[in-house]
């Protein structure tokens, strides 16, 4: 079932970029916002009044504490009932809060949906139509990007595996219903039970890898390319500021040698250091590089770092690095010339091959503010609603819903021997998975049936 704007369901989203700053806001809009407010805060909120309260989970434990604000329709941003839950930020806490709200009947908003609802409910001037269209457009492009990033590696493989199992199951069940007289070798009851239990285990393992991955995937990918002595770690420390420095450094796997996290003004940034690319000698490292290259395809920004004191002919080094590093070509790298304090004359170019050039001294902290400004400009798009974190939340939400339907389908088969209700639940299950894997129509299903079975009375 595709969802459009005229559907009057209650929507929810993080109103602040994930992990940024001291507070995080979950915003909810729609008819159920009031009832959700009551359940989550266990208080009767006075409209338009900030109330300090606990946010409760369904087992009555406290997820977070913060401010609740309820704006009843029509006097709200969207013109609908709007609830804002302002918590302490932190990606894990915000995710739990969002999941809680979703379990109470809201769904994750489509990109730009809050603004679009506001516009359609006359809360935004008609003259802003263009701006709203642009916002929806960029938000959805960004969501698509986030979704792709969320769907990398292991997670993607296990989703595909799960999806193909569900499709295979549906093929048999639907063919048995629509073509009862064909000589199809339909699944026996035991085989159905066995397949269902295999699908169940697939769900569990996907959910496990998805939740683990969510933390690692969070944030923005920034590739740092340059020779080993170019001063990457001092630049990293500079960017991160004195109190943040390196947040995570998981050792033990090849891939993680090139992974490090910093916070830039509260935005989590995953640094992909390509230093290892040059150092690779053995097989294990080569595998690490292969994966690093894979990551580079999903980069948000890239810095090419050059030691100006060593490489006076920095243009040549840039050219060479560009050949060696297959970064995503839609992202223009930023050329950072380090150790500006050690040379007499600085290059005057502001652009090289359409890439911005900036001189810094990581050691003395010179030029760092301009670099941050440039980075923020390049990454600006990721500061709004949709990052990979929300994309992953969306995926986990879809998998959870799919799993609930699978469990109910098994129940219908066990308790009631109701094959048509198993079919129904499997359809819902598959529909939820399709929010991740892409549209699959009834005609696609029939096509698969006809190519798998000889139908032809």
């Amino acid at each position: 079932m595709q969802r459009g704007l005229t559907d009057k369901s209650t929507i929810a989203a993080l109103a602040t970029p994930s992990g940024r700053g001291g507070i995080g806001i979950v915003r909810i809009s729609g008819p159920d916002a009031k009832s959700i407010a009551k359940i989550v805060t266990q208080k009767n909120l006075t409209p338009r009044q900030a109330t300090y309260c606990n946010f409760f989970d369904d087992d009555h434990s406290v997820i977070d504490q913060g401010i609740s604000l309820l704006f009843p329709a029509p006097h709200s941003f969207t013109g609908e009932n709007v609830l804002e839950l302002q918590g302490h930020g932190g990606p894990v806490v915000m995710d739990m809060l969002l999941s809680r709200v979703i379990s109470l009947g809201a769904r994750i908003a489509e990109p730009g949906e809050f603004s679009a609802r506001a516009f359609l409910n006359d809360k935004i001037d008609l003259s802003q139509a263009e701006a709203i269209s642009d916002l929806i457009n960029s938000a959805s492009q960004q969501a698509a990007k986030g979704a792709i990033r969320s769907l990398q590696g292991e997670f993607s493989n296990s989703i595909e595996d799960l999806d193909s199992r569900v499709v295979a199951m549906r093929l048999y069940i639907e063919a048995a219903i629509d073509f009862p007289e064909e000589e199809i070798d339909f699944l026996s009851d035991q085989k159905i039970q066995k397949s269902l239990s295999e699908i169940d285990s697939s769900f569990l393992s996907v959910l496990k890898s998805a939740t683990q991955g969510a933390l690692l995937r969070e944030g923005i990918n920034l590739v740092l390319a340059g020779r080993p002595n170019a001063g990457k770690s001092s630049l990293m420390n500079c960017l991160a500021g004195k109190n943040a420095s390196i947040v995570t450094a998981i050792a033990g796997t090849t891939r993680d040698i090139v992974d490090e996290y910093i916070h830039l003004d509260g935005i989590p940034i995953r640094l992909v250091d390509t230093a290892g690319i040059h150092a690779a000698k053995d097989e294990v490292e080569k595998e690490g590089i292969r994966r690093a290259f894979d990551e580079l395809q999903h980069t948000d920004a890239a810095i090419i770092l050059i030691d100006l004191s060593l490489d006076k002919a920095w243009e040549k080094v840039v050219d060479q690095l560009l050949i060696e590093i297959p970064y995503n070509s839609t992202v223009k790298p930023l050329i950072v010339l380090n150790k500006m304090d050690l040379v007499d004359s600085l290059p005057t170019e502001q652009l090289y091959r359409a890439m911005p050039v900036i001189c810094v001294s990581a050691k003395k902290g010179e030029g760092i503010e301009s670099l941050k400004g440039l980075l923020k400009e390049i990454l600006a798009i990721d500061f709004s609603e949709e990052g990979s974190f929300i994309a992953r939340s969306r995926h986990i939400d879809a998998i959870n819903r799919a799993y609930e339907h699978l469990k109910e389908g098994r129940n219908q088969l066990d308790q009631f021997q109701a094959g048509e209700l198993l079919a129904e639940e499997l359809r819902y299950c598959h529909e939820s998975l399709c929010e991740i894997t892409g549209q699959f129509t009834s005609d696609d299903l029939l096509g698969r049936i006809f190519s798998t079975f000889c139908i032809g009375k």
């Binding site: 730009g112 929806i136 000889c454």
Partner: protein
């Protein structure tokens, strides 16, 4: 000459679509003319002699619930009835009737000839009268001009029909009937997108030359089902058996050797055939690992020996057909009465139709049946009915009507066609319906008959029967909820095989697995005649949770259907839509936001952009509710 009388509705074609269209329009009080090439072939079943089946009997029951004749005729001509999926749950159960071809035709003709407001005329139609983008009548091959306010075209496979038998081909609309080439050429001049489809039929066999003693008989079901809500088994004629046999390795060898003369494999046929109804040569090639395929041997009627071997549709040359038939068990000395053939024909891209089945290009012109790319009598009849209804509504200046996807398989059929178009002959399957649990063959009357009545389609007799059933359902529903069974009630506990822990009403007990209404009624000694009504009560209870969930979903998206899209939208100028989405929207020109959401590739973000554009251009107005 100009015919002296002006009509409201002219229906061109007397097949299953034309029949329902003409009858519906006439029932609704329109002066209706049915023009057919040949009165003798009105209601002809040109392919297999069966009505109904999975997904299809659902359509028949809906046609019946709206006062159509297909179900009535299937009962009066049905010589073998079966319930399909009888063990699989009521939502997917279906009924199929083998029909006596002659009887079926006769019954349909009686209905047509006795319908008030309906005139029949035999002549082929060569052209349409078109004035200012509005259709105003038809011109026959002898130049007679009939004027009307609306025209419904139901010309089946007759448009540009080419029949293939081996490498020989000839023009034709059906074996022994000419194609409508003049009309086809004329329509090709109009701005409709035309494409080709293909279908086929098996050779027919003389039953006197078949050795039935080696075939597996397949009797009809007991208790015998009926098609129409207002019929009983007393309306059925004498019943006969069907038989089953199989192809074998030898058959497949014969087919393989004949492939170099198969128009399907030599590239003679361009039209796309149905994947679910492949020819036997296609099956042998595509599923080479199978050494046998099932054949259902169906009687063509009570007064003929002709048999229809369902499963060996073919366009191989006649000598190969004869050899392959005789390689089959029981057919060793069989004689063919008519060769099998494949037929290619024109169809129009149904995305150029409104949900009323009126064409978007020409006002007052309606298309129904195979020319819209469907296959099957039931699919044709369903469209004919809707086209006839809407032509009549247009004549009385009432808004158009078509059931929504959640109201009828007819709605699924038409929405699929006008939104997705089709690349192969479209056939109904239950898996196409997302509201399968609501759209059952047992409740089509409850879904549609009231609406049919309000449009003037339902006669007193049917309306009375419907009223009786509805009030009985209501009455018994109250009892199910108010009749309490106490712990210690020995009859109930014996039936359930366990003690009652507290008092339960009957409705609660019926929601339990394996509790069946008839047995429960017996246990508490309630005598409720009319098992059909009881079954309905039980189904409603068993599916209650699912139906409630689907109804929530339906309510949530209903508003989308209220937002109409103007007919002449220029999607190219909507900012932010991808080119792919623009192109798809431009192609389909959806009538509502609801329809737009169903177009593949149209994302929620695209819908947002569309709504914002509408609002900005002040086009976002909620008009009358589409799909009522």
């Amino acid at each position: 000459m100009n015919y002296p009388k002006q009509f409201d509705v002219i229906v061109v074609g007397g097949g299953h679509a034309g029949t329902e269209a003409a009858l519906a329009a006439a029932r609704m009080g329109c002066k209706t003319l049915l023009v057919t090439q040949n009165i003798e072939t009105l209601g002809q079943m040109s392919c297999n002699p069966a009505i109904g089946g999975i997904g299809k009997s659902h359509l028949v029951k809906e046609i019946d619930a709206l006062g159509g004749v297909m179900g009535l005729a299937a009962d009066q001509a049905g010589i073998h009835f079966r319930v399909l999926n009888s063990r699989k749950g009521p939502a997917v159960r279906a009924t199929r009737a083998q029909a006596d071809r002659q009887l079926y035709k006769q019954v349909i003709r009686v209905y047509l000839e006795n319908q008030q407001n309906l005139q029949i005329f035999q002549q082929s139609v060569d052209d349409l009268i078109v004035e200012q983008n509005t259709v105003c009548g038809v011109i026959t091959n002898s130049g007679i001009r009939f004027r009307s306010r609306t025209v419904v075209l139901t010309v089946g496979t007759f448009l540009g029909g080419i029949i293939h038998l081996g490498l020989e081909k000839q023009s034709g609309g059906r074996a022994a009937d000419p194609a409508s080439n003049r009309l086809s050429d004329r329509l090709r001049e109009l701005p409709f997108k035309v494409d080709r489809l293909k279908t086929g039929t098996p050779p027919r066999i003389d039953g006197r030359t078949v050795n039935f003693s080696v075939l597996e008989p397949q009797p009809g079901d007991q208790p015998r089902p009926v098609m129409s809500y207002i019929n009983t088994t007393a309306d059925h004629p004498q019943q006969v058996n069907c038989f089953i046999t199989q192809t074998n390795a030898r058959t497949h060898e014969i087919i393989s050797k004949g492939l170099d003369r198969s128009p399907l494999f030599t590239g003679e046929i361009d039209g796309v055939g149905p994947r679910y109804c492949p020819s036997i040569e296609d099956k042998v090639v595509r599923f080479a690992d199978r050494d046998s395929h099932q054949i259902f041997v169906e009687p063509e009627g009570l007064n003929t020996h002709e048999l229809y071997p369902n499963g060996i549709s073919t366009s191989l040359p006649f000598d190969v057909q004869l050899e392959l038939v005789r390689s089959i068990k029981g057919f060793e000395s069989a004689e063919i009465t008519r060769p099998g053939y494949a037929i290619e024909y024109d169809f129009f891209d149904p995305r150029e139709l409104k949900f009323s089945l009126e064409t978007k290009h020409l006002e007052g012109l309606y298309f129904a049946g195979q020319i819209n790319g469907t296959t099957g009598y039931e699919e044709a009849a369903a469209q004919g009915l809707i086209a006839g209804i809407n032509a009549a509504l247009q004549c009385s200046e009432r808004p158009p009507w078509c059931p929504a996807r959640n109201e009828a398989y007819i709605g699924v059929l038409i929405d699929d066609l006008i939104t997705d178009g089709t690349k192969e002959p479209y056939r109904m399957f239950t898996s196409r319906a997302e509201y399968r649990l609501i759209l059952r063959q047992d409740n089509a009357d409850r879904r549609l008959t009231e609406m049919g009545r309000s449009m003037g389609l339902i006669d007193e007799h049917r309306w009375h029967r419907f009223g009786e059933k509805t009030s009985l359902l209501k009455e018994r529903n109250v009892i199910l909820k108010s009749h309490w069974c106490q712990p210690g009630d020995i009859n109930v506990e014996t039936y359930l095989g366990q003690k009652l822990s507290r008092e339960y009403n009957l409705a609660e007990l019926l929601r339990r697995p394996k509790v069946q209404i008839e047995a429960l009624l017996k246990a508490i000694a309630l005598d409720w005649p009319d098992t059909e009504v009881n079954e309905q009560l039980e189904i409603d209870l068993k599916y209650a949770g699912y139906i409630a969930r689907q109804e929530d979903e339906i309510a949530r998206i209903r508003t989308q259907h209220d937002v109409e899209l103007p007919a002449d939208m220029n999607y190219a100028e909507i900012k932010g839509l991808s080119n792919e989405v623009k192109q798809k929207l431009q192609e389909v020109q959806p009538q509502s936001i609801g329809q737009a959401t169903r177009i593949s590739g149209v994302t929620p973000a695209a819908i947002s952009l569309l709504l914002i554009y509408l609002k900005k251009s002040k086009l976002l107005v909620k008009q009358h509710v589409i799909n009522q």
